[in-house]
Symmetry: C2
Subunit: 461 residues, 2 copies
């Protein structure tokens, strides 16, 4: 009767750490163990660029929950410990710390193994199975520390990938006075966040402040004394090559779910390469949950399977898995909205739902509006542009993108609308908060819906 | 066949002016006339305090649409012109400008007569039917100009009413170095916007920066050379009196709908004293519309009749009336949300729905959460407190109040939720936009819903 529930969590990132916390909250008597292969307790990965830039004064500040914290909560946290095997029939996890073998039983297992950087195929990028000196990733605290230690001596830096993370790093290094080259294989920047028309002003700014090569791939690295010296980049259309001198290179070409352990025990892996999870964050195996960047879930609007590397979603997963594993009940929303935001080079960017190039199975009309964050007569208003996507069939809002003032909070309104199948005809009449120093009588968020509604109405005729 | 629709609009405020614009947009051939009793074309009333404070450099900046603008749009605007009679059977409006009599026919009439200041009964406040010298209102451009002309010589100012407008004025005068006394008859400030617990920090700040007398009424004005010299205020509980020396007095005790003309022709007036309008902004009389502060409409949540003096709603009404009068079709949302915001003394304040003391027919549970606008490890985070109200019966969100960082845009999310009958269980899991420099992984907006959901769940058991 008095048996304690044994919960093992693999990984102490945002998803795993949150799962442990919520399991503890849900069942004060459960026995909770976390195996973390790195040397740090739960820290914010998303904060790493801001230590590089100096906004955050120390890497230690990023530790959100320390070893001590977990100890006080009676959660056994093993750092520097790799799980070597999961025995799903015997309900045992084997792990290794230095030369120590650890063997633990579980009633419930939560896999929070995260994602690993995707590294494009570039000649000479590896030396002895390691990235060549001067080539960096920015996934982990150690990655960031390694990069940080080089910045003092860096005059020229190159970044592969013009997504959110790539541009965050570019902005960080730019602010340090480093000469920046950005290499993007697609013809557009921020391909997964903004449509071309929306990212245009940012692209223009990048063309002024950095050396931006869209439609280019990095084909080869040239070294000197075993250290990166230059990169050969190639125009994808003309095949023309160009040599870029650089002191260092950062790879920011996305990530892929880390699913090795899960795959070995037969957890179903989805077509995007993530562990498929249910609304309860259960994998295809009973009593085994998975959370965060290693998982795959369905998109709210399209129902298509989607992997998302967002900290906010990892935390939400962690809440669900922790509560459920400890005997409570918590269901995820029925799909992912992918609400995301960032800021760089003076632009606040936010989006929810899929971009035009990606949303395939839903015919969408768009409305776009650019205006001021304040009434025109009030000084200090900043530009805000919003583009909203509407399902041509039923008028429901399916996506929104924003660049400018308070983009993120405005996009949250659209997130609420999408999650509740709100029609554009309804949202365009939303009573938004108005006061001259704060927001205009008609907010750009509703005005963009006016434009979308007009286009939608014409299509319906 | 070629008959032009004749549209007459009474009043060129936010509602009337917008109605004219939308009528013109909807029917390029319509004949549109506006009669405005004041001497200015469409200007922002809400902007007036910010000219006083100097944020906005000139009263002229507040003119949103000038006489010229209306002329170019072929809208006949009569300024300084009072409507003396509406003949609803003959479809004629009689108006007077100086000694000129004007007579116009209409097919559609839009009443946009606004509201007039409510002036509490205070001994000696009037002299020869005028406010005694040094006593001011702040409803119109002329009110503001009169007040502005006095500021240079003002050392002490008193304000009656601690609502949004009263505190905007107090902040404005405070910034000019004037010694401020605020007199509020209720025991609480911002009674229609925030619950007592939410307004507490603002009250504390007012107690430091101003002389705040809640639970006091102004009973008498004492003059010297026909000008205000002091006010006698009285504690409502103890009846104790106090003399306040003051150079001027501003009355900010709300307003009441101006319905004289409408009432005379038999438009149905509601129990709140406003002209009752339909979703099309039609009054009880055919072909006669009414918009903005002179109207009464139902509250979205309670279905109770409500008057609202908000510029954003007047504009929405204007859109509806203009489109409908010109032969188009535009329905208002089925009820008012009363989304509102302002800022003063360093606080951004926003709310949607009714406060606890006012929401009567719906049993409500509340969740409140205070946190930072940014993750704790990122510097510069500002406090934001949100309180959300949930219908005990069905879990739907019925109200929200926010004080702090980006209060207005966060309240817009709740406005969207209320308008779409979103349940707290849903909103608490909303995927909000997260990035360290912009917003935390879990926003206070969802965390306040977590608290409310817990309380709601307990009530349900």
């Amino acid at each position: 009767v008095d048996k304690k529930t044994k919960i093992i969590i693999i990984g102490c990132g945002a998803g795993g750490g949150t799962a442990a916390q919520l399991a503890r909250k849900t069942d004060r008597n459960s026995e909770i163990t976390i195996f973390e292969k790195g040397k740090y307790a739960q820290y914010s990965k998303c904060g790493l660029p801001y230590v590089l830039s100096g906004e955050i004064s120390s890497f230690n500040n990023l530790i959100e929950f320390s070893e001590n914290w977990f100890e006080k909560e009676n959660i056994k946290l093993y750092l520097n410990t790799s799980v070597t095997e999961i025995n799903k029939t015997k309900h045992i996890v084997l792990a290794k710390r230095d030369n120590e073998q650890i063997k633990k039983e579980f009633d419930k297992l939560i896999i929070a193994t995260g994602a690993k950087a995707f590294i494009p195929s570039i000649k000479n990028i590896f030396e002895n199975n390691k990235l060549v000196s001067g080539v960096h990733l920015l996934r982990t605290m150690d990655d960031a520390k390694a990069l940080f230690s080089e910045l003092k001596h860096t005059k020229k830096a190159s970044i592969i990938g013009a997504g959110l993370i790539g541009l965050e790093i570019a902005d960080t290094l730019y602010k340090k006075g480093i000469d920046i080259t950005i290499i993007e294989s697609l013809s557009n920047i921020l391909e997964n966040t903004l449509d071309i028309d929306m990212s245009e002003p940012i692209k223009k700014e990048l063309e002024v402040k950095t050396n931006l090569f869209t439609n280019h791939i990095a084909s080869k690295i040239e070294t000197e004394n075993s250290r990166i010296k230059q990169i050969i980049i190639k125009n994808k259309e003309t095949n023309q090559e160009k040599k870029i001198e650089t002191d260092l290179l950062v790879i920011a070409t996305g990530s892929k779910p880390e699913v090795n352990l899960a795959e070995k025990i037969g957890c179903k892996i989805g077509k995007r390469g993530g562990i498929i999870i249910s609304e309860k964050t259960l994998t295809s195996l009973s009593n085994i949950y998975a959370v965060g960047d290693c998982t795959e879930y369905k998109d709210f609007v399209t129902n298509e399977p989607t992997c998302v590397g967002l900290g906010s979603i990892a935390v939400r997963h962690g809440i669900a898995a922790g509560v459920n594993a400890a005997g409570g009940e918590y269901n995820l929303p029925s799909g992912l909205l992918q609400t995301r935001t960032s800021e760089f080079f003076g632009f606040e960017v936010a989006a929810v739902g899929l971009v035009k190039n990606v949303i395939k199975n839903i015919q969408t009309v768009y409305g776009k509006f650019s205006g001021s964050s304040l009434p025109h007569y009030y000084p200090g208003g900043k530009n805000i542009t919003i583009k909203v996507g509407v399902n041509e069939k039923n008028g429901e809002i399916v996506s929104a993108q924003a660049v400018g003032s308070n983009a993120a909070q405005r996009i949250n309104v659209f997130a609420c609308a999408i999650q509740n199948n709100v029609r554009v005809e309804n949202l365009k009449k939303l009573e938004t908060a108005y006061a001259p120093p704060i927001a205009p009588t008609l907010d750009v968020l509703t005005l963009s819906c006016d434009v979308a509604f007009l286009k939608y109405s014409r299509k319906k005729r």
